[in-house]
């Protein structure tokens, strides 16, 4: 891409363009149709050739101040005026302002005979005077092939057409020539042979009763144009082409993290939630709470003051608001503040292109930061599987380019493999949350896990997903020898565990008490023994005291006796005294 950019600049300088003013078309043609040269628009009946040509003129007249001449070979001016009024184009007004001139050319084969040589000078003169009358810069010939029906001499006709296109170039007008698609050729009469600068093919296919319109640039001399088929639609604002395949993978990435609106889910996502500008897929079986998760996400975004778009293919806005109120989300307040817009439609109502074009358009108008598509699988009903897939990639790229965080929900049908998305978008989403039912013991419970989330350390744990009146709540599931348990199984398991714990506790308490009793017993016995010993000790002390007092008494008696016998005083008569002298 970076390599082609300078080259494109150079081409833009060398090849001037006449902007079509048609949404998307100027992007894929890199500026519009070649200025001053003819452009061929071919397609089968009802493909939108006349409308495209008319819008080229009307936009030129109103937006680029380039008056235009519409030379109609099929429809009269009043018919054309009426036909495009539904697109908001007022041709009468433009004609009054001399910005548009419709010249109806009627060719009635039945009243024309040919004899001898002729040329188409009359057509040239008419065109020339029309161009001069309003100073036209743009010319449409719709569809000049009708000349082939009106005139017999093909040799003259072809020579004159060649001259006409040459002449248009010389006039310097940006011309658009429409032509009917031919069998095995771009146009029925080989007009592409004469108009070689820019050829655009419009296609209108009906597959499975759903029609899709597509546009392809077959060739565009001197411009590196997009070569894909681009879906387009015709609505009340005219023509718009979806140029989304021209997007690549060059979008800016954001480091910013945004909350999922469910605190516990944020912690599962590395603690901070999703990255801004990524694409999140919530898939799961029916009734698992995908929409509720989306509503939480939207609610959180609105709380941050960000604009959100909610495309619902299953529920109406009113129904959504009511249903989400039951889980405690007041989405009504955000719609009133114009932070949240609901767009509900049945998926089968339009073709796939129409849906995507509508999404495209609304996103461009509303400029949301968050877009929810609920459910994305519905879009398959509007198109076929392969189309839906490519369209979705385009849409995701488009949203990423605008740094819009997208949350897609997807219903996994019961018969399918669980980790499978209808449109195989799993590889293009950045985060994938899976909500599933766990059926056990006669009840269904919801479980959520993060299948993948690029660029963050996300939890590998299964969480029980509860829808409460206060919103979505995530709980740890019971993981143990009994397996993964949720809901009342989890509750009963927890009760069983509680009972066991109480029993264990009681047992421990009983043992404690016994030990205390034993200690008390032991201490009592110790006390008794001590008492006994103390008694013994007392006795011993008493007896020794008695002994010494008796000895003292004996000694006193002996002294008294000696005194009475007047014995001489003998020192150290007693043993202790004698011991003391030694």
């Amino acid at each position: 891409m970076s390599k082609t950019a300078p080259r494109r600049d150079k081409e833009n300088r060398s090849l001037p363009k006449a902007a079509t003013g048609i949404q998307g078309l100027d992007e894929i043609t890199e500026g519009g149709f070649p200025r001053g040269r003819p452009t061929l628009i071919c397609g089968s009946a009802g493909a939108g050739k006349t409308l495209l040509a008319m819008e080229f003129l009307v936009r030129g007249a109103t937006e680029y101040n380039e008056p235009g001449v519409f030379m109609a070979f099929e429809e009269t001016a009043p018919e054309l005026t009426q036909n495009v009024r539904s697109l908001g184009f007022d041709l009468d007004e433009l004609a009054k302002e001399k910005k548009l001139l419709i010249d109806y050319v009627r060719i009635e084969r039945s009243e024309i005979d040919e004899t001898g040589d002729y040329d188409l000078e009359g057509l040239f003169i008419r065109l020339s005077s029309a161009i001069d009358a309003i100073g036209a810069k743009r010319v449409v010939l719709d569809t000049i092939e009708n000349l082939f029906a009106g005139l017999q001499n093909q040799g003259i006709l072809r020579a004159e057409l060649r001259r006409l296109f040459r002449w248009l170039k010389d006039q310097g007008v940006s011309a658009v020539i429409t032509a009917e698609r031919g069998e095995g050729a771009l146009t029925r009469h080989g007009l592409e042979e004469y108009v070689s600068d820019c050829v655009i093919l419009l296609d209108h296919r009906v597959t499975d009763q759903v029609s899709t319109r597509r546009l392809r640039i077959v060739k565009y001399r001197g411009t590196a144009h997009g070569t894909n088929e681009y879906p387009f639609l015709i609505d009340e604002d005219g023509f718009s082409v979806l140029p989304v395949t021209s997007l690549g993978l060059q979008h800016e990435v954001s480091e910013e993290r945004i909350s999922s609106g469910i605190p516990r889910l944020d912690t599962m996502l590395g603690g901070e939630g999703f990255y801004r500008g990524t694409t999140i897929l919530v898939s799961g079986t029916a009734g698992t709470g995908k929409t509720s998760m989306a509503a939480h996400f939207v609610d959180a975004a609105c709380r941050r003051g960000e604009r959100c778009l909610y495309f619902s293919f299953e529920e109406s806005a009113g129904q959504m608001v009511r249903n989400m109120r039951s889980i405690g989300l007041n989405l009504d307040q955000w719609t009133r503040k114009n932070l949240l817009q609901f767009h509900s439609s049945r998926a089968t109502f339009y073709g796939l292109e129409m849906h995507l074009a509508i999404i495209h358009k609304i996103v461009q108008e509303f400029e949301p930061r968050v877009v929810v598509i609920d459910p994305v699988g519905s879009l398959i009903q509007a198109g076929n599987r392969r189309d839906a897939h490519t369209m979705l990639i385009r849409l995701i790229d488009f949203l990423k380019q605008r740094e819009v965080t997208a949350l897609l929900t997807n219903l996994t049908s019961a018969g399918d493999a669980l980790e499978k998305t209808d449109v195989e978008i799993s590889s293009i989403v950045d985060s994938w949350l899976f909500v599933r039912d766990i059926e056990l013991n006669g009840e269904r419970n919801r479980a959520l896990y993060v299948l993948k989330s690029r660029g963050m350390a996300h939890s590998n744990q299964l969480r029980e997903f509860l829808l409460t009146s206060r919103g979505v709540d995530l709980l740890d599931v019971y993981v143990g020898p009994e397996g993964v348990l949720t809901g009342s199984s989890r509750l009963s398991q927890e009760a069983r565990e509680n009972a066991a714990r109480v029993a264990r506790q009681q047992d421990a308490e009983r043992k404690d008490r016994e030990r205390i009793r034993k200690r008390e017993l032991l201490e009592a016995r110790i006390a008794a023994l001590r008492k006994e010993f103390e008694t013994e000790e007392e006795d011993a002390e008493t007896s020794s005291a008695q002994g010494s007092s008796r000895e003292k008494l004996i000694a006193e008696n002996r002294e008294a006796m000696a005194r009475s016998r007047h014995a001489d005083r003998v020192k150290d008569a007693t043993v202790p005294r004698g011991r003391r002298t030694q």
Binding site: R106, I112, D113, T115, D117, Y118, E121, G122, S128, L151
Partner: protein, 120 residues
């Protein structure tokens, strides 16, 4: 722009329709030849027309030559694309013959002055 034949009183029978559409011997022919400048082809066309008229419509025809180079706005009126174009304004219905009228037989058939030769 041109009043269609239905604006006139409706003829009663197929016979009458046939008679009405066949130019009668006494009708005055109003012919208009569109050209673009004095090209050799225009001059040839005028000469050829003059010759045919003198031979078949002597005394009861008018030829008006319109040069679109001088009056381009007149091209739209008779829905002229090819040059030269001869328009038979009268008798009704309107007929157009494009080309330089070189092939007299075809010109006569175109002007309904002669029935087309049966196909072989």
């Amino acid at each position: 722009m041109k009043k269609s034949p239905s604006a006139q009183p409706q003829p009663q029978s197929l016979q009458e329709i046939a008679e009405k559409n066949e130019p009668g011997p006494n009708d005055v022919w109003e012919l208009r030849l569109y050209v673009a400048g004095q090209t050799p082809r225009s001059i040839a066309a005028f000469a050829n027309l003059k010759k045919i008229c003198e031979e078949h419509l002597a005394g009861r025809y008018n030829i008006e030559v319109v040069d679109l180079v001088k009056h381009p706005q007149l091209a739209a009126g008779d829905q002229i694309l090819a040059i030269p174009t001869l328009v038979r304004k009268l008798p009704q219905p309107l007929r157009k013959i494009v080309g330089d009228l070189r092939d007299t037989e075809r010109a006569l058939v175109g002007l309904q002055l002669r029935q087309a030769a049966p196909e072989k």
